[in-house]
Assembly symmetry: C2
Homo-oligomer: 339 residues x 2
């Protein structure tokens, strides 16, 4: 393995000179610079990041901890975060963890072991406590969620998300407007302390405002965000409740699985069953009919997250919370009730 020492020896200069060239310091003569650069190429030198990280007080890295990276909803957000980091002169280090894992613990480890400057947590829990964050030690922003169930002081963390409850209400209202009253909700769990719980609250509020009595038989918990679970649960719903005329799915993926179950059962969308969701993943543009959904501004979510963090890092700005709005993308899955 080639090191700067080898380069230095090869060029008859000191290691510090090589280091200066490598880091684009100004105080090097053009001659020396060229000589070193040549040696770098011909000796196939590649910097050892471990050594660099070790000596540098901090890296220029922003850590991204993604919880459940198999979720296609995150893909465009991740891309946006990567691009924004680069544009601001930072490097993004992504770390994927399973859907159930502890993003704060992982983030803390990442932050220390890689000397991160800051952290973006994508798709985490809504219930951090002050205690949880003790270990973190660097500024961070919660991306796609905030801290509804924890006891965090809003001035101690940042977040970018939609208003899950309000958007859910808005989605369900679209169904109510069409005359639906037998409206099912398809969710992970009523009390997952995460988006399902928040969106369930919004669903209940919409029903209440329209004086529709809640109906436990229409609350379809799946126990996960997988399409397979959503499919099975929808089959069950259709079998048990022939009176249902509309479904609100808390995620596009679940809605797509539900649409399949509905089609398989020989019912038609939207004539027999209407369906609406929240997310706006690429795939939902290609269902037949096109899924009606509240599209989250995925790129903006990613960009804003980086913006907030960099502002804190570079300018010592205060923490902030951004609530973005969804855009209704009318598809063909919501229609008048026929019953």
């Amino acid at each position: 393995m080639t090191t700067i020492k080898d380069i230095a020896a090869y060029c008859n200069v000191a290691v510090s000179t090589v280091s200066r060239v490598l880091n684009n310091h100004p105080d090097v003569s053009a001659d020396t610079r060229e000589k070193v650069l040549d040696a770098v190429r011909s000796l196939h030198y590649v910097p050892n990041n471990a050594a660099r990280d070790l000596v540098l007080p901090q890296s220029d890295m922003i850590g991204l901890v993604v919880r459940g990276a198999e979720n296609p909803f995150f893909t465009p957000i991740i891309r946006a975060i990567g691009k924004s980091c680069e544009a601001k002169g930072y490097t993004m280090a992504m770390h994927q963890i399973p859907a159930g894992a502890d993003e704060v613990g992982e983030g803390a480890k990442l932050a220390q072991s890689k000397r991160l400057k800051g952290l973006i947590l994508l798709g985490g829990r809504y219930d951090y406590t002050q205690e949880d964050l003790k270990a973190l030690g660097v500024p961070f922003v919660c991306c796609t969620y905030t801290n509804h169930f924890g006891d965090l002081d809003p001035s101690a963390f940042s977040s970018v998300s939609i208003n899950d409850k309000a958007e859910a209400t808005r989605a369900v209202n679209k169904l109510i407007e069409q005359g639906h009253t037998k409206i099912a909700i398809l969710l992970d769990s009523k009390n997952d302390h995460s988006i399902s719980e928040r969106r369930y609250k919004g669903y209940r509020e919409a029903l209440e405002a329209a004086s529709i009595a809640p109906d436990e038989g229409l609350v379809c918990e799946t126990g996960s965000f997988t399409m397979a679970a959503a499919f099975k649960r929808t089959e069950q719903l259709l079998a048990e409740r022939p009176d249902v005329t509309a479904i609100f799915a808390v995620a596009d993926t679940m809605a797509i699985a539900a649409m399949k179950a509905i089609a398989d059962a020989g019912r038609s969308i939207p004539d027999d069953i209407s369906i609406i969701a929240i997310d706006g993943i690429e795939m939902s543009l290609y269902t037949t009919p096109t899924l009606t959904t509240l599209v989250q501004p995925q790129a903006s979510i990613g960009e804003k997250a980086v913006e907030i963090l960099v502002n804190v890092l570079d300018n010592g700005a205060d923490c902030s919370h951004i609530r973005l709005e969804t855009t209704l993308r009318p598809g063909g899955t919501v229609g008048h009730v026929h019953s």
Copy 2:
């Protein structure tokens, strides 16, 4: 930041003792071990990987370079690779690069800067030259592809993939069996030196074997693997060639986009147009009708890749090439020709 020095001071032992405890060396008294472990917890110690990597001759890391990670086809493979690495006592370091980027160059950098033991390249090019691999320096395995267009000596690299050409032939034969002769192919490019080119060859062979004259008007190049491009190109095909009765898409995502274009054009699947693809992503289970596709054994692909690499690493085994087979998953998108 807590270091082993702090722990050592706190416990009144030497740093070497702390290091021994941290690395599970046997020569430490139970007492000392406990004391140190306690300190680790209460001082919130997290090892600094940079320092560890620096001093260790090699890390236990296997690098994974994913080219075009937005492709949902890769998701299960990545998961399998991660799990397998862990099971074999290795750590996976994933590095995502854009669809067009140079995976070998990136891999070489990664390998040297992180002192990787080996490398898995996911979704790379088929046309490496000996020269390209000079820089790499560690054993590697090509995952989902092999070296059809380059000049590599098969004994100098490993690969896990399907036989793209043969599987494409198989897919197209399924259409021919149903009486189709006006069979379009939906692909990135006829000469992308990658899966499109290989699968195009298979398509041509199937036609030839069935004495169907090739028809350039039915070769639909999209210039990318995006769904949007596949959708547009299918619209164009339907407009220009009302005689087409079947489509072979080189990827499930493209097939799903095509199905939407067909439905939007008021044609029915499979009555008017049949469609078959290769991949078997989760989403293709939830289209209506269910997509008929040749399912790649995604988990096995990932597992085999790790197995080969670890075998080379641990046992000095030779490079090897594994060709896996797909499984036909009959859906509802292929039917008899009606014309």
